[in-house]
């Protein structure tokens, strides 16, 4: 029971290693793929079950604090699983399972080692969602990034290589900046445990405020790069466009890592009632969120290709999440948690549907102009209809519920800025998606599919249906899910309880640098750590 959090990291790692060794020794990669698929699927099923267990436990009020090697806090690196972490981990596991099933039809055979890479990606994601240590967050970021570099390249091709080169260089610069931010925070606060940082950030004196401000800005930049916030959004459309369909569906959760980082850093550490550092970046986050919303919508309007359109819908959804998070109220955060669940499944489903559409239209692919009929035009059309309605926010699907929650959560002072932007962008999306749907499914150049074309692998239809049915289910069970999200948001805002849980009874007495004796040679000394007893 108490070891469940670490299983979420260890199991994907072991599965990845196992699949890698099995695949590497295979004489015929195609045949070993069958075993790899089975192992990978079984492992993901176990992950889904464990993550549901984590949700059940955390919903009952339990918070897992897993101290690695059982070193006393705050010296240990701890995995902290509260309701938000459990939700994000479950989201990752379920999404990965759907993606795995979709890829197991055909796509995973176009290169080697799809399944090991998928599991490394899942490991990085789960770790990033569970860690309670800022430097450990960096390490898990690197793991999920290096897996994503390789997944992006999966299948090869010049277009992908070019996109991958840009993506890798950008993220390496981002990692360097992340390290600088971590260094500044450690230098000022003397700790990297996020609960401990929340304690000490409240005691920062006015002289250290500029340093904290710079560090907060750098962190916002780094998380913004991952989440594709304006003006760091330029990499996302070409990258996701170039990736193969299942990979881009899996990447639907990658932007959420950035948003999750913003939630974890800017609410407990730089959030309300934190003395000098209170709300150090708040206006920025809301403003950038609204700008991202506008840019994503304009990009979607200008898109000339179906998958490109979906990538801009991701930018749009990031903007919506930040608009909700950036209000810095419990209700806003609750709405954004609901929106994150909704948009992860929706975007992944949309990618799978667009992949099938592009495939069945033959040579014309995803270009938004009159094309040939599709083999499964009717089925794909209905799936696209559901996805589009949910993306725009038309009732009765979850898109409507989530946007209504965000609008009703907006405090009166911000309504003048938030409401017009959210409503206007939704309207523009409605226009564009209606147009796209008509072009793709009604404005056909002929009634029969082009000769020689095949319906393509059917494997992605089931997962697409499953992912998009989340939109229906989230709306049908809107009440319980909303209550769950509200409790989750309340738990994130309850800083004292979290600090108590993580640091426990042996919470260190807060020390500032000024309290410490100055050593003989004049350099300021850091708080002296006690020698931990393992």
């Amino acid at each position: 029971m108490m070891h469940l959090p670490v299983v979420m990291v260890a199991l994907p790692l072991l599965t990845a290693i196992g699949c890698l060794l099995w695949g590497a020794r295979a004489v015929r990669p195609r045949q070993s793929l069958v075993t790899e698929r089975a192992v990978s699927q079984a492992s993901l099923l176990v992950l889904v079950v464990i993550s549901i267990r984590l949700i059940v436990e955390t919903a009952a009020g339990h918070v897992f604090v897993y101290r690695l090697a059982n070193w006393p806090t705050p010296y240990s690196i701890a995995l902290v699983v509260d309701r938000l972490s459990a939700t994000m981990v479950a989201l990752t596991a379920v999404l990965a399972l759907f993606v795995q099933v979709a890829a197991a039809g055909d796509e995973d055979g176009r290169g080697r080692f799809f399944h090991p890479l998928l599991h490394l990606q899942v490991m990085g994601l789960c770790g990033a969602f569970m860690t309670g240590d800022l430097f450990n967050l960096f390490v898990f970021f690197e793991i999920l990034l290096i897996a994503s570099y390789a997944l992006l390249m999966f299948g090869g091709g010049a277009v992908r290589t070019r996109a991958a080169l840009h993506y890798v260089v950008l993220n390496l610069v981002g990692s360097a900046l992340f390290l600088v931010a971590i260094g500044m925070l450690y230098g000022t606060l003397g700790t990297l445990n996020m609960a401990d940082m929340a304690v000490r950030a409240a005691q920062v004196g006015p002289t250290d405020r500029p340093l904290m401000r710079a560090a907060a800005g750098l962190l916002l930049l780094v998380f913004g790069l991952k989440a594709a916030i304006v003006p760091m959004n330029l990499w996302l459309p070409p990258t996701y466009h170039a990736a193969s369909t299942p990979v881009s569906a899996l990447f639907a959760i990658m932007t959420k890592v950035g948003v999750y980082g913003i939630i974890r850093v800017f609410i407990p550490i730089f959030g309300p009632d934190q003395g000098e550092v209170t709300g150090i970046a708040d206006p920025w986050i809301l403003g950038l969120g609204l700008a991202t919303l506008v840019v994503g919508t304009l990009g979607a309007l200008a898109a000339t290709e179906l998958k490109q359109l979906v990538t801009f819908l991701i930018v749009n959804s990031v903007g919506t999440q930040l608009t909700a998070v950036g209000q810095f109220t419990e209700q806003g955060l609750a709405a954004s948690v609901y929106y994150i669940i909704h948009s992860t499944f929706l975007t992944a489903g949309l990618f799978l549907v667009s992949g099938a559409v592009c495939h069945q239209r033959g040579e014309i692919g995803g270009r938004l102009s009159s094309g040939p009929a599709m083999h499964e035009g009717r089925a794909l059309g209905y799936l696209f209809l559901v996805a589009a309605m949910s993306a725009v926010g038309l009732p009765p699907l979850s898109g409507f519920v989530s946007k209504a929650l965000i609008l009703s959560a907006t405090p009166p002072a911000l309504q003048g800025a938030v409401w017009p932007v959210v409503l206007a962008t939704s309207f523009l999306l409605l226009v564009q998606l209606s147009r796209v749907g008509s072009v793709l499914f009604w404005n056909l150049a002929g009634d029969v599919p082009p000769p020689g074309s095949k319906p393509g692998p059917h494997a992605s239809r089931g997962p697409a249906l499953g992912l998009l049915s989340a939109s229906v289910l989230l709306a049908v069970f809107g009440g319980p899910v909303d209550t769950f999200c509200r409790d989750t948001a309340a738990a994130v805002y309850d800083r004292e309880a979290m600090i108590q849980r993580v640091l426990g009874d042996d919470a260190p007495t807060p020390k500032t640098r000024d309290d410490m004796p100055v050593p003989p040679h004049g350099y300021v000394r850091r708080p002296q750590p006690e020698v931990p007893v393992p």
């Binding site: 450690y186 002296q528 020698v531």
Partner: protein, 116 residues
């Protein structure tokens, strides 16, 4: 000594940023390496600069200088990760040179091929 160190970090970082903004992948890779060196040096110095002090705290000795061991551990991790990433980006640059027929970062693919 702090001044010297910070000037050094600044100079290396500036060179790194300049090189990252160049158009050829080779200079970009060099720039990324310099940038990660600068970051590592910076990270090393956040535990305050101490000379000849052991990285072990001795509670009995009182106010004796010691070097903070945590930044050293962080730097070690960062170096390992940075090394792996540099190796990856070198290979990626070579693959890009081969597939795109050019070593420019913004090189266009030789022919139009549908992704997906």
């Amino acid at each position: 000594m702090e001044v010297l160190l910070s000037l050094g970090v600044g100079a290396v970082a500036a060179c790194g940023i300049y090189l990252v903004l160049r158009e050829r992948t080779f200079s970009v890779v060099l720039g990324l390496a310099l940038l990660s060196y600068a970051t590592n040096l910076f990270l090393f110095s956040v535990g305050r600069v101490t000379v000849g002090a052991p990285p072990i705290a001795n509670p009995d000795a009182g106010a004796v200088a010691y070097a903070d061991p945590l930044p050293q551990a962080l730097v070690l991790t960062a170096i390992v990760i940075g090394f792996a990433m540099t190796a990856f980006v070198v290979v990626l640059a070579l693959v890009a040179r081969q597939r795109l027929g050019s070593d420019e970062v913004d090189a266009m693919p030789p022919r139009k091929e549908p992704p997906g």
